[in-house]
Amino acid sequence: MSTQNIIPEVAHKPKPNPWVIVGRGVLQSFLVLLGIVVLYPLLWMALSGFKSNTEIFNSPFALPQNWSFSSYVDAWNNGVSQFVVSSLIVTAMSIVATVLISAWTAFGLTRTKIPGKPLLVGFVLGGMMLSPTVALVPLVRMMQSFGIYDTHWALILLYTAFRIPFTTFLIRAYMLDLPYDLDEAARMDGATEGQIFRKIILPLCQPIIVSCVILHVLFAWNEYLFAMIFTSSADTQTLPVGLTSLMSKHGTDFGQVFAAMTISALPIVIIFFLTQRYFIRGLTDGMGK
């Protein structure tokens, strides 16, 4: 008898609150809408690469009448392939330089005894306050005197120099939270400062370093001002500047321009989707604490 009384009570599930269901529905709809708002422009850009000028202007939101890849092929052959190569070289080399120098700097600023350290920290991080545009004219003269004006090296050097303060700021914040016992244990085992950096601290900083890499990719891939001023020839121009050469005041093939934009956005979108886990974790780890 008693069992019969108990079982219905245990089996009885509490009635779901209708407001919770409505709330969840609203939230999910909002997130779906947000997803559409973010993804639709990208999709529209990719679809416009299949359209002619007439279709783009007269029915911008319709599907393409002809699914031909000709605009993509033309864009690729009209210099986009070269711009992609330039962007890859500049981005990859400046990433390596920026992250290594910044990590080494952050290590020095957090885990070594240097006299006047707060001053040094202020000096390095103060670089974030410097506007690149203000330094443009002297930089042109400097690059010309170095003999690297209109070469990939000019952009690699500038991107590295102007991103070191911010990257150091991120890595330093992360390193401050790593226990100092690790360094002491390593020292007792006879490790040098270089070994502590390479074998202990750097591997532990992996999440923030991945975040820094992604942030740098976003910056270097899309940077326009330096690329416009410091490169001139088609061989050295990166994507943002190269894309403008596909457009002209008179007679632009917009299908080709959209195709080129899609090609240029593709690597960055792929990288972001592949690494978003690190990106969000590393960024919050580095900045939140």
């Binding site: 009209n78 443009l136 042109v140 326009y224 001002l225 416009m228 001023i229 050469s245 596909l246 005041k249």
Partner: protein, 436 residues
């Protein structure tokens, strides 16, 4: 994002460029100088667009083949980036030996700062080289009675029209402003858009006004008003021109909403056969009617925007200007730079520029390759040659602040928020404020 960074960049570059650069020294070309065919020559072009890029590359290769000790380095920019690049190069005192320049105040700034070589002894109208150009093209680069520029190609504004629509409705090419208005009414009644016009970029509308001012205001008055020191802007022709434009806008376009339409949309409407007319530059002829567009090159016709019969200005004037190159006064090899430009402007090389895919109407007489060129462009060149006076673009010939006032006030006029009298009054006030 890109637009933002670009605009900000240009604004900031302009700020940088206004820093005091090292003083430059005025130079004058020596027609008897010996050309030393050795060393490096740097050139800043405005042919950075994919279609035009190969021209200077080809010229440089040919010249280097003729003179093996000369090496040429090219900086090729497009319409927008050339502005930022030029300002940075000037500010850093590293202007190339040869550089692109527009006519009007843009070129005037190089002259004012002694950055450009006075080319009068080699390209003046009485010189051998000068005689090879269309006279109006050379004089467009005249500042303080001296010649500073080497015109490369010509540009002028014409009304392009769809022959099939005109034939269908039995309309003849309008010879006067009144006939144009009547033609618009007929086209509108037939369900076509008479003229596609986009004034989102306000220079597009100012091009109409420039031509109407040439018809309504005497040339001497116009030229006096370009200079803020002598500007009065009290000629009744200004208000008359604006009122003619209003009449045109009401009858031929969609009205005040043109301020929301880009000129690129307008040209597309013309190419798609939606509109019967589109006011365009001669260098747009090849792109507004292509074999692949609904309006084919055979369907394409053009005429000069017709004047009002009672207009008090010059009825044979045409709006347009050449674009060309200057020689840097800091160049270490001025004779070589001049020699290269003489090479580029030889008729056989000008013919390459005029033919597809470049299609730029050359400033050199006899430089048009009529066999390979679009026949409409060849005809347009004849009209340019016949014009009594080439009135330059209002936004480049005026002082930058006056130009800016013209652009904003005229856009407000088109939008219906300003009267003709107010536009002229505001431009006058701006000109006077510069003088004071």
């Amino acid at each position: 994002m890109e637009v933002f960074s670009k605009t900000t960049a240009l604004a900031l570059i302009f700020g940088c460029a206004s820093l005091p650069p090292m003083a430059a020294q005025a130079e004058m070309a020596d027609p008897n100088a010996t050309v030393e065919y050795s060393g490096e020559l740097s050139i800043l072009t405005k042919f950075g667009m994919q279609r035009l890029q190969p021209y200077f590359i080809e010229m440089a290769k040919k010249y280097e083949a003729l003179h093996p000790d000369v090496s040429i380095s090219l900086i090729q920019e497009d319409d927008d980036s050339v502005k930022g690049k030029t300002k940075t190069l000037v500010a850093s005192n590293s202007l190339p030996d040869i550089f692109f320049s527009w006519t009007g105040t843009w070129g005037g700034n190089f002259v004012r700062g002694d950055r450009a070589v006075d080319l009068s002894p080699v390209i003046g109208p009485d010189t051998d080289w000068g005689k090879t150009f269309a006279p109006a093209a050379v004089s467009a680069f005249m500042y303080n009675d001296k010649y500073y520029g080497i015109p490369l190609y010509l540009d002028a504004k014409f009304m392009g029209y769809s022959k099939p629509i005109f034939d269908e409705l039995g309309i003849d090419v309008p010879k006067s402003h009144a006939e144009l208005i009547e033609a618009c009414k007929t086209i509108d009644a037939a369900g076509y858009l008479p003229v596609s016009f986009g004034n989102k970029e306000p220079w597009a509308g100012l091009h109409y006004l420039g031509q109407l001012l040439a018809y309504n205001v005497p040339q001497t008055v116009l030229e006096a008003d370009y200079d803020p020191a002598t500007a009065t802007f009290d000629d009744p022709g200004y208000v008359a021109a604006l009122n003619q434009f209003r009449e045109f806008q009401d009858a031929c376009t969609i009205g005040a909403d043109v301020n929301a339409i880009s000129y690129k949309t307008a040209i597309q409407q013309f190419s798609d056969g939606v509109s019967a007319m589109y006011y365009q530059e001669i260098i747009e002829f090849d792109s507004s009617a292509k074999p692949t567009t609904k309006l084919t090159p055979d369907d394409f016709g053009f005429f000069v925007l017709p004047p009002a019969e009672d207009a008090a200005g010059d009825h044979m004037a045409l709006e347009g200007a050449p674009e060309g190159y200057m020689i840097s006064s800091a160049s270490e090899n001025i004779p070589l730079a001049i020699d290269f430009m003489k090479f580029v402007t030889k008729p056989e090389n000008a013919r390459i520029l005029s033919a597809p895919p470049f299609g730029q109407p050359p400033a050199v007489q006899g430089g048009a390759d009529s066999e390979n060129m679009n026949p409409s462009v060849v005809e347009g060149l004849d009209d340019i040659a016949e014009a009594s006076y080439l009135i330059q673009w209002l936004d480049t010939v005026n002082h930058p602040r006056v130009a800016s006032e013209w652009l904003s006030s005229f856009q407000a006029f088109v939008g219906g928020t300003k009267s003709a009298e107010d536009v002229v009054a505001d431009v006058r006030t701006t000109a006077h404020s510069i003088r004071n």
